[in-house]
Symmetry: C2
């Protein structure tokens, strides 16, 4: 008598959430310091001090009726203009606040964008490995998720498979770089190749094919540059979140950006507003609209993640594990010695190691390790990984 | 090539939002003090001082990684338990945090609840006049909105029409008391009569029929008591928001409450979690989860709304307008002298009076006046209302 699909989604939870909840319970039992919880992408680095100062300043100096009141549905235009200005300074773009629709984080950005785009029969291409909720979101908004297999050499987008997958029903391709779960950053050359392919397919099928660029990790990158995709491909819609860059995942603040260069951009931004309305997103949280207006482009101290990568990647490789080297984000994707991630993750639990099996990401022989943890804990976890490695020798 | 329904929803906006945006623009042109904007339900009373104190205390004394991190999807269990305890103290109920799912406000509560409940062919009954977004939300979540005409004597729920409207497809009835747009509070007797009718219909059709009680105005009430519906009818799901009680509409914080007494309550709360997930609501804003854990049940100084009611209702009645007397919320529903709300609202604009035509509420010959404005401005607006009244004499 209730919606069975929703029941199934709620009762099962995502594998990541499930494991995170297990981690919280296990921490209560044996102490958080003894649980090596690599399950959820909850930043371990605090929001930068400027966030606290900014919040305190806003709370102290803004009339509460104005501060906590409804904003315009796409977000306060002053805040949107400030975010656009900061993007323009950084990327040499020429956006205005009208190109932006502020949201409750990347998941809401994605749902709103998918809902705004989806017409009957539309297909959305995702490249394994992918953030598992993409499939939930696409299907829930009425689209069909088309999954292309991974390029296990580069873990960049699999171009030959993309070529095969695009057809007359393709509405968009979701790109996520720096990538969850691999930490790989797509190179400019690789993005140009994708762009050329999609330009050709657009012409062939006489309709726009969008890139939905899911960019919560854009600023969480170590040595490499993250190319700005709207400079490479016109029909790009960006879904952004401040969850990782400013370590504010619980506060739910992000945006959808529709550049003027995108096909039907004016109509699309209206449809984005309509989708936000239909999904019950009245406006993005007001206090944090003001915070990002001041702090967009700033980041938490992400050097910790680089340090963690520089410890974990060589250590695991040394132990004999086959790992993808992360360029950014805070995820390491690792092959399971016998190719069975489920049993590997169960074995890992014996050593209080919580790893996410790759099944949900579309790569069943891998696991994801979220290394957004205290470095001290990461160092202590190496013994547990060693013990786990021994089981496979 | 984009979703036309979403485009239409976004391009048209709600009549209320449209008018509010007009009001903001008009204010920029002639000064906010000269625009009598009665369009949107944006509380005019500031959040109580304890909100500021509470936020400052939380920001100062909580580790930022914990404070701004993801919470469990239904909300931090400590916060949920605190909200449950406060409800239990006030209403003598015995809820726990497990009965609650924290949300981004009432619109998200409603969408999540509707999505969780809706199976193919389901109908949801709403009684005119109703909050216009109900129709958008019901249809968007796959249900059919069945509108029953108003009881223009009492503006309570129209029992004979409800009797006619309930059938084997009825999944729920939405109740909203104190009501938007009338300010009417449903009496205990009236709710008991609804409950008896629904109990009988449940038996007749052998399936549960839920009441979805949309309660953003529960604490915004003047002389009357607002009966607690779960005490009257077991199959009640509450959709609550702190937007109006604590004057925090922009911060997006509320909850869904599924009592144990509701049919399939455990499954339903799972479906609520699934719907939240499918709609992209990762968790309710974390800082404000902590605020409501401390301040649930407290209110802004709502005496201002009562004072406004006590000015506006007699003044408009005196001018010859036919008004529904508000018991709570901050809306006054008024009949248009010639029954044409659209032309009435256009005429009102000449006097800088922004009133919402009743069409969207399902009562095309009425207008809604949101009197959540400064009392000083309300007093100045009376001359404009007088001038408007004269046009109809």
């Amino acid at each position: 008598m209730i919606n069975r699909e929703m029941y199934a989604l709620g009762a099962k939870r995502s594998a990541i959430r499930e494991l995170a909840e297990y981690g919280w319970k296990r921490s209560a039992e044996i102490g958080a310091e003894n649980v090596f919880d690599f399950s959820i992408g909850n930043p371990s680095v605090p929001a930068p001090e400027c966030v606290r100062e900014c919040m305190e300043d806003i709370i102290k100096n803004t009339d509460p009726v104005t501060l906590h009141g409804y904003t315009s549905a796409p977000g306060d235009i002053g805040c949107r203009n400030a975010v656009a200005d900061e993007l323009n300074n950084r990327f040499g773009s020429s956006f205005t606040g009208e190109n932006l629709y502020l949201t409750c984080g990347a998941s809401s950005s994605l749902n709103i964008t998918l809902k705004a785009l989806t017409c009957e029969g539309d297909e959305f291409i995702i490249n394994a490995p992918f953030f598992p909720e993409y499939k939930v979101f696409i299907e829930n908004q009425g689209g069909k998720a088309v999954i292309i297999p991974p390029d296990t050499d580069t873990f960049s987008l699999n171009l030959p498979e993309l070529e095969k997958a695009v057809n007359e029903h393709t509405k968009a391709v979701i790109i996520n770089s720096p990538n969850n779960p691999t930490g790989v950053v797509y190179s400019e050359a690789s993005l140009k190749a994708i762009s050329e392919l999609l330009e050709r397919k657009q012409e062939e099928y006489s309709h726009p094919i969008y890139i939905i660029s899911d960019e919560p990790y854009r600023e969480v990158v170590y040595e490499k540059e993250v190319p700005f995709i709207p400079h490479i491909y016109d029909n790009t819609v960006i879904c952004y979140s401040y969850s990782k860059s400013l370590s504010l995942p619980g506060e739910r603040i992000g945006y959808v950006l529709v550049p003027d260069a995108a096909t039907d951009s004016k109509e699309l931004i209206s449809a984005v507003a309509g989708a936000g309305r239909a999904l019950g997103y009245v406006c993005a949280p007001a206090l944090f609209q003001r915070v990002i207006a001041k702090l967009s482009g700033k980041t938490a101290d992400i050097s910790v993640y680089q340090r963690n990568r520089d410890i974990l990647y060589p250590a695991l490789t040394e132990m004999g594990f086959d790992c993808v080297r992360p360029d950014g984000a805070f995820y390491l994707f690792m092959k399971c010695p016998d190719g069975d991630a489920t049993s590997f993750c169960e074995k890992a639990k014996k050593y209080e190691l919580l790893l996410v099996p790759g099944d949900g990401f579309g790569c069943p022989s891998y696991v994801r390790i979220s290394y957004c943890v205290q470095t001290e804990k990461l160092l202590r976890s190496l013994k547990a990984f060693e013990a786990l490695a021994k089981e496979y020798k």
